[in-house]
Structures are given as structure tokens and as C-alpha cells.
Amino acid sequence: MVQHKRILLVEDNPNDELLTKMALERSIPNIIIDVARDGHEVIDYFFSESSARKILPNLVILDLNIPKINGLEVLKRLRAESKTQSIPIVVLTTSNEEKDITMSSSLGANSYIRKPVDFVEFSKITDLIGQYWLDVNESTHSLK
């Protein structure tokens, strides 16, 4: 049986969502991409009674500038819950503000990457993210 890798992509911009999906699907075979378009959807995705998610994603790709609950707050909440505290989270955002970078790191993001405008560059980056977080890295999360 082919083992599927699952990613939660947190992204509010539909164009960015499509582009990121294109880049991810191209570089990572057998990938399932769930999408949350704002902070609430992320919290619902993991914690709402109705969804009662049993299969957790192998990786969360998180944009910071998202509606309702911003990315840093989402990060804080995911790290506060035992269910989600060890899921690798890669912040992928437009901002290179110092405070966003330091806050992300101190709130427990595993990595911080700035989205480049150049799509070829961007594809290379998603390729690396997939390789590293889904193949190379042995996360405590996958032991569960």
C-alpha cells in the first residue's frame, strides 16, 4: 500500500493556495493537502467535536497573515495542546519582519521560510520542505 503523506496548508489567499498546491504536488508524490483558510478553520480542523480528527497531518504549513485568528496565535494554541504540540510546523509567509521571525521561533515553529515572488524559487523551496519534513526528519509525532 502506498503511504500517503498529509499536509495541512493554512492559507487565505486563493491564488497562493493554488500555487502552493501546484508546487507541493509536483515535488511530493502521494500527497494529500488539506486547506484551512483562516485561524478558526485550523482550530476546528484539529479540535472540533464533529471533525474529531483521528488522522493528523504530517506537517502544517502556516501563513502568518490570516483572518480571524492570526498565524502566531494559531501557532501558540497548537503548541499548547498535547494532541498537536509535536506536529512539525513550517511558517511560510511573506513577512520578513524581525518580530515575526523571533516570535515564530519562540512560539515553537520548526522553521521559518519567506515566500519568494519567483515561482521557480518557490518550487525549489516546497521541494526542500517536503524532502526534509516528510522524508529525512524523524519526528516524535510520527512515532505515535
Partner: protein
């Protein structure tokens, strides 16, 4: 002396001995055409009187040093505390030089011995005291005016600072949203152009592919412009942290990086040794990077290119310079050099964003310095700058 002082004196006489009071009254009538004496027999009475008077009603207080309810130093202090600016002349039966000196330091104007007192002495003391006090009041008044002005100025500065902070915060929010919101659509433009190139190239001819490549290059160029625009804004936003900086080694390292980026270029390089000054190290590095990168760029078409960095002294001030023999510039345009997005060369000849020297100027401004340039077309240019000028 003005007439008022000669003709009409109003005095509070604090004296418990009726005989002494009558004597003072007699001396006064001998010397002053018109005068008014208000009599208080105890310290408490004097205090009550003083508190009930309008301001400036009294010209002088004549104070006996031993009263039934208070005497000596405590008495002086009590009266001084309510006398406002009315001068006090002490009348006492005892000769105590030490205490008389001390009483002057407590705020008393003169110290008279009753046994030596006569009308002339009293008149002289009152008039001297009056005149001295008039000047003293003038000084006090200007002091108070000055204080008021100072306070108003401080309030103004505070208000301006507050406004500036608001504007600064707005600017910060603006920069943040620029970095996010302008870049997102650019990513779509570039991304979908690339997607067409990759997935639909069989449906496009060479011209169509060329156009899409131009779209991509333009979006990447705009993205770069946003970056430099933000870095210019950032220079002004970040706080200065000054320390000792070795400008010589900063220059060496910048030139090494440039040389490593293009090892085939041969440049005649001259860097003055041991140039040390106080500046924000990361910001002064941006200054030298920009100036040296410019020299590097604008000598790229020069035969036997040379770049030098050094320091000269002008009017007792250290003036640093970066000099090259590159394409230079026309002095008619010297004012445009430091204006953001103003370029003196064509993009095709020498690529650039037009933000480098504007950034440099901002940093030099923040270091209390000045920057200026001299140039001649096809001969080269010199950029001079100072830092830490005395204001």
C-alpha cells in the same frame, strides 16, 4: 531710586515693645513724607497680617527678633515662609555677628542693632533694601517667565513627539502591509506565468513565451523594488547603537566580497589604515557597502580602474571619502544623487534601484553627519562624508 520709595513706604513692624514701636514711628516720620506702619505684636499676629495682605502691598517688614511667641531663627523662618518677596529687616538688641550673617542666608535683607539705630540709618536700610528687592523681583519675574516658556516648550516637544510616534506607528503598519499585500499579487503574476510556461508551452510560440518571461522578470523586479523600499524605511525605524568601528576593516571586507563575486576584475585599490570612529556598526557598513558597490559598478567600464577609501581633515573635522575613476557624473545633477528613486544612469548601462544613496544619506543624517559628492563625467567621482559632528 524712584519717587515712590522716597515718598510712600508701607511697612509691617513686628515689635512687642511699644516703646520701640513709637521710636520707629518717629524715625520714619522724620525721613518719609508719607508712610504707613502696620503693627503686629506677636509672630502669630504678623503671620495673620501677612496672609491677609494683597500681593505687593508691603514694601518692607521690620522684625524684632525676640517676640513672646517666637524668636531667633525659628521666627525668621516662619516670617520668610509667608512674606512672599517682601524684604525683611531685622531689629535686635543684641550684637551677634555670627547670627546676623546666618540670618542673611535665611532670607533676611538687613540686620540692625537697636542701640545704634537712628532715623538716617533706618531710612538708608529701608531704601537700600527696597531698591535691592526691586531688582531681585525683576530677576525673579524673568526667571518665572523663563520657566513658563520652558514648560510651554517642553509641552510642545512632548506633543510633537507624541504625534511623531503616531506617524511612526502608522508608517510601520504601512510598511508591513506593503511587504505583505503588494507581494502577494506579484507572486500570483509570476507563479501563473511560470505555470503557463511549464504546462502550456506547446500551445505558445516563441514570442508568446518571450512575453511571459518579460512578465516574470517585471514582477521579480518589482518585488526587488519593494524590498529596497522597505529596507530604506527600516533604516530610519531601527534604533542606533553606536560603538567603536574600524572603518578600514569594514571597507576591506566589503571590497573582498565584491572581488570574490567577480574575481576576474582587476582594481587598483587603496584603503587608508586604522580609520576608527564611533558609529552604529551595521548601519555604517550599509553606508560603505553602498558607496563602494557604486564605485565598483561605475568603474566596470573603465580601463585601469581605481578605488580608494581614506580620511582627510577639513576645518578640524574628519572627512571620509570614497573615490573612483569611473563614469562619474555631471555636477548639474548633484542634487539628485541622494533623492530616492532618482537615477543618473540608464538601467541598461548600470543596473540599480535608485535607493542606495538615499539610504546612505539617511544613515549619515542619523549620525549627525553630512554627505556630499564631486564628480566629472568619465573622470570619476568622490563621495565625502562626516559623522558625529558637534551640533
Amino acid at each position: 531710586m524712584n519717587n515712590k520709595s522716597l515718598t510712600a513706604i508701607s511697612a509691617l513692624v513686628v515689635e512687642d515693645n511699644m516703646g520701640d514701636f513709637v521710636l520707629i514711628e518717629a524715625y520714619m516720620s522724620e525721613k518719609f513724607e508719607r508712610f504707613e506702619l502696620i503693627h503686629a505684636k506677636t509672630a502669630q499676629e504678623a503671620v495673620n497680617q501677612l496672609l491677609s495682605f494683597e500681593k505687593n502691598k508691603l514694601d518692607v517688614i521690620l522684625l524684632d527678633l525676640s517676640l513672646p511667641d517666637k524668636s531667633g531663627e525659628a521666627l525668621i523662618q516662619k516670617i520668610v515662609s509667608v512674606s512672599e518677596l517682601t524684604p525683611i529687616i531685622i531689629l535686635t538688641g543684641f550684637i551677634d555677628l555670627k547670627f546676623s550673617i546666618k540670618s542673611l542666608s535665611l532670607g533676611v535683607s538687613d540686620y540692625l542693632i537697636k542701640d545704634e539705630l537712628n532715623s538716617t540709618l533706618l531710612q538708608k536700610s529701608i531704601l537700600y533694601t527696597y531698591e535691592r528687592n526691586a531688582s531681585f523681583i525683576k530677576i525673579k519675574e524673568s526667571e518665572m517667565k523663563l520657566e513658563l516658556l520652558n514648560r510651554q516648550l517642553e509641552e510642545k516637544v512632548e506633543e510633537r513627539t507624541r504625534q511623531l510616534k503616531i506617524v511612526n506607528n502608522e508608517l510601520e503598519a504601512f510598511s508591513y502591509s506593503v511587504s505583505h499585500d503588494l507581494r502577494a499579487p506579484l507572486r500570483s503574476i509570476d507563479g501563473f506565468s511560470q505555470a503557463i510556461l511549464e504546462e502550456y508551452s506547446d500551445k505558445l510560440d516563441e514570442t508568446g513565451i518571450g512575453y511571459l518571461n518579460r512578465v516574470r522578470m517585471a514582477s521579480q523586479k518589482l518585488s526587488h523594488l519593494i524590498d529596497v523600499f522597505l529596507s530604506l524605511a527600516k533604516v530610519t525605524r531601527t534604533e542606533l547603537h553606536t560603538s567603536q568601528v574600524n572603518l578600514t576593516s569594514v571597507t576591506r571586507s566589503v571590497m573582498n566580497t565584491l572581488q570574490n563575486g567577480d574575481p576576474t576584475r582587476k582594481i587598483d585599490l587603496s584603503i587608508e589604515a586604522d580609520l576608527i570612529d564611533f558609529a552604529d556598526p551595521s548601519q555604517i557598513k550599509i553606508v560603505l557597502e553602498n558607496l563602494l558597490e557604486n564605485s565598483w559598478k561605475y568603474t566596470s567600464k573603465t580601463e585601469e580602474p581605481s578605488i580608494s577609501f581614506g580620511c582627510i581633515e577639513k576645518n578640524g573635522e574628519k572627512v571620509y571619502y570614497v573615490k573612483d575613476n569611473g563614469v562619474g557624473f555631471n555636477m548639474n545633477y548633484v542634487n539628485k544623487l541622494f533623492v530616492p528613486f532618482q537615477r543618473l544612469h540608464h538601467e541598461n548601462d548600470f543596473p540599480g534601484t535608485g535607493i542606495g544613496l538615499a539610504t546612505v544619506k539617511r544613515i549619515i543624517d542619523r549620525h549627525n553627519g553630512e554627505i556630499w559628492a564631486e564628480g566629472e563625467p568619465n573622470k570619476g567621482s568622490i563621495f565625502y562624508f562626516t559623522i558625529n559632528r558637534e551640533c
